[in-house]
């Protein structure tokens, strides 16, 4: 029996149905009226920030509901000295630096990878980390350094790259690990803040980790956490569920992204990650500062492929961040909105970013600049 090939629009068109979106908007207005107080909802993930601003979801909820944009944009939180490290590594002799596309424009303390490439450094951007193996095997006489970034979502891809490169005995591929973790950042925000009423949980992080990592925020901090996908209806569904929890004075972890995220997460990915990585004692988050146990590093037994160890003299130590007067740190912590920053759209634009939130597609400032600057 022949079957129709699945077209990709089937995967998302239902989640953008205008009638259902309007119905959700109506129900959210009703629930907000019942609750009758302002509600600050932090969407932790930059993907959610992008969806909210792009689809105009904040226009579909009452003024009493405020979206606070959280620190979940991996390139936004990367400190300058680690970007400087990527540029220094790319400047070593016979070296190819491989990383994901969003790294290209992010400013370090002096320059960016985009400029390093224009000056003749071999910097390559890949869609999938596994492409690094191809680059390494095609350039056996060069050192290929994979500069790994991202939250729990992309860490398994780096782990898989390590696994495959070892199986294939690729011995010229090294790793500079900058993978960061969501829960310690939320914990810090809750300790410092008190102005967040609930969280929209990151759907793709949860797909890997499972839902358990958010339990302390519900149980100890009494904040509802609703895990959501990235389509308009996904996010509106999460907002509605948060309001209903608040109306009932409940605080539990709810999963509205069950089509991707299972309660236990992706066990295979988790096993692969713990095979190669362990938690760092601390990691500096750009604009936020040092957060304990908030990032991953390679386990000691993989020291021979760890670029931070092998080329340590090229990797600058943490220094005082040069600030341009932008509010990125406060925006990442939920204390300010992009338009509160004096540089927004003036000294700081996506083509000439002063702060990291203007760089990535998932940075709050970039999303506002792209879709809301007037």
């Amino acid at each position: 029996m022949g079957s129709q090939p699945l077209t990709t629009d089937k995967l998302y068109s239902g989640y953008r149905n205008p009638d259902i979106i309007r119905a959700y908007s109506h129900k959210i207005h009703q629930a907000a009226q019942d609750l009758d107080r302002p509600v600050n909802i932090m969407e932790v993930c930059g993907g959610h920030t992008f969806s909210i601003v792009k689809y105009g979801l904040d226009q579909l909820v009452p003024d009493s509901i405020r979206f606070i944009h959280g620190p979940g944009c991996p390139v936004c939180v990367l400190p300058q000295h680690r970007i400087d490290a990527s540029i220094a590594l790319a400047s070593m002799e016979d070296t190819i630096l491989v990383t994901l596309g969003d790294m290209i424009k992010i400013p370090g303390s002096r320059t960016s990878l985009q400029h390093a490439r224009a000056e003749g450094r071999d910097v390559r951007f890949v869609y999938t980390p596994l492409d690094a193996i191809k680059i390494a095997t095609e350039n056996p006489h060069k050192k290929v350094i994979y500069f790994a970034i991202g939250f729990e979502t992309t860490t398994p891809m780096t782990a898989l790259l390590i696994e495959q490169s070892r199986q294939l005995k690729v011995n010229n591929l090294f790793f500079h690990i900058n993978h960061v973790l969501v829960p310690p950042a939320i914990e810090l925000i809750l300790q410092q803040g008190g102005h967040i009423d609930a969280f929209i949980g990151p759907g793709h992080v949860t797909t890997i980790t499972g839902t358990g990592i958010y339990e302390p925020f519900a149980l100890q901090h009494h904040k509802p956490v609703v895990i959501s996908g990235f389509e308009p209806i996904d996010v509106l569904d999460a907002v509605l569920k948060i309001l209903l929890q608040l109306c009932d004075n409940k605080a539990i972890v709810e999963n509205c992204y069950s089509r991707s995220a299972k309660p236990e997460g992706n066990l295979k990915a988790q096993a692969l990650v713990s095979k190669y990585f362990e938690t760092r004692e601390d990691f500096i988050w750009r604009g936020i500062g040092t957060i304990e146990n908030s990032a991953m590093k390679l386990r000691d037994e993989y020291v021979e492929i760890d670029a931070e160890q092998q080329f340590s003299r090229y990797c600058p130590r943490a220094t005082q961040e040069k600030t341009s007067g932008c509010l990125c740190g406060q925006i990442l912590m939920g204390h300010a909105q992009p338009k509160d920053c004096a540089l927004f759209g003036k000294g700081c634009t996506p083509s000439s970013p002063q702060g990291s939130c203007m760089v990535s597609n998932e940075g709050a400032c970039a999303a506002y600049y792209r879709y809301r600057r007037y």
Binding site: T8, D9, P74, I104, F125, Y127, G150, H204, N361, Y374
Partner: protein
Amino acid sequence: MADRILLAHGSGGLENQCLIRDIFVAGFENHILSTMDDAAVVNIGTLAVSTDSYTVDPLFFSGGDIGKLAVAGTTNDVSMRGARPLYLTVAFIIEEGFEIDLLKKIVASMASELQTIGVQVITGDTKVVPKGAVDKIIINTTGIGELVCDCAVSHIQTGDQLIVSGPIAEHGACIFAAREEISVHGLRSDCRSLWPGIESLLNKKLHIHAMRDATRGGLSAVLNEWAEQSHHLIHIVENQVPISTPVSGFCEMLGIDPFTLACEGTFVLSVAEQDCQSTLEVLHQAGYPHAALIGTVMEKHAHPHVILQSDYGTERLMEYPSGEILPRIC
């Protein structure tokens, strides 16, 4: 003749003459070019002239190749100004070692496209550069046309209706997928010469104020440029913009905005309101069955921009394309 281009082919000697005679003059055969004089002599009225250089990887793609692109791209720019394209100049910059069979294929593709629009190549140039100095081949073409109807951004007015001639982002998505070796069924470049369709429109004497083909930067670049240059706000209804299922799926998968991806055979028109329906009818008859009304030119504004309205009532900016096209991280 050798099977690869040598530096000698660009040296002005015998090999150079053979290349010009056997490939270019033979391929673009016409009486003006055949004189082989230092300059071509033509006699026409008010001129519209446009030049562009072409470099594309891969050279051959679904729906076209660099040769077709070099003819259609430049003559389309002439057509968009309301001029009938008549002549083309062609300059090739070729990397040493380029396969002569590929060059022949490119020239044959150019000749075939020239024939469909009745345009003649009247002068040309060839340079061969050492290996590595260019990526395979660069083609520059200059199109010369005769003005039929004065279409220009300065004629855009409040109340004009905005029409797009067909599904957007087809070329950009096709090239992007080919370059990244992502196989998506149904992706095909829209590369084609627009003059035949434009001629049908101009013959009807409709009040077309401006036309622009949505090449690099896509629909978004055209609309943002028009807003900025004419100082008008532009309002677009998102779900009226035609996008094919394979293209929208591809863009969703990679997190790319289809409004910023290039077209090579799709154009935008700003038309007086009373002629909107007739323009759509002519386009539908002239080989543009998916031509659609997508928006309106609004009042003048101190900060002109393009507003995109969703089908559930929210509004956002249609962003001006900037930087390299990058997919999202996760």
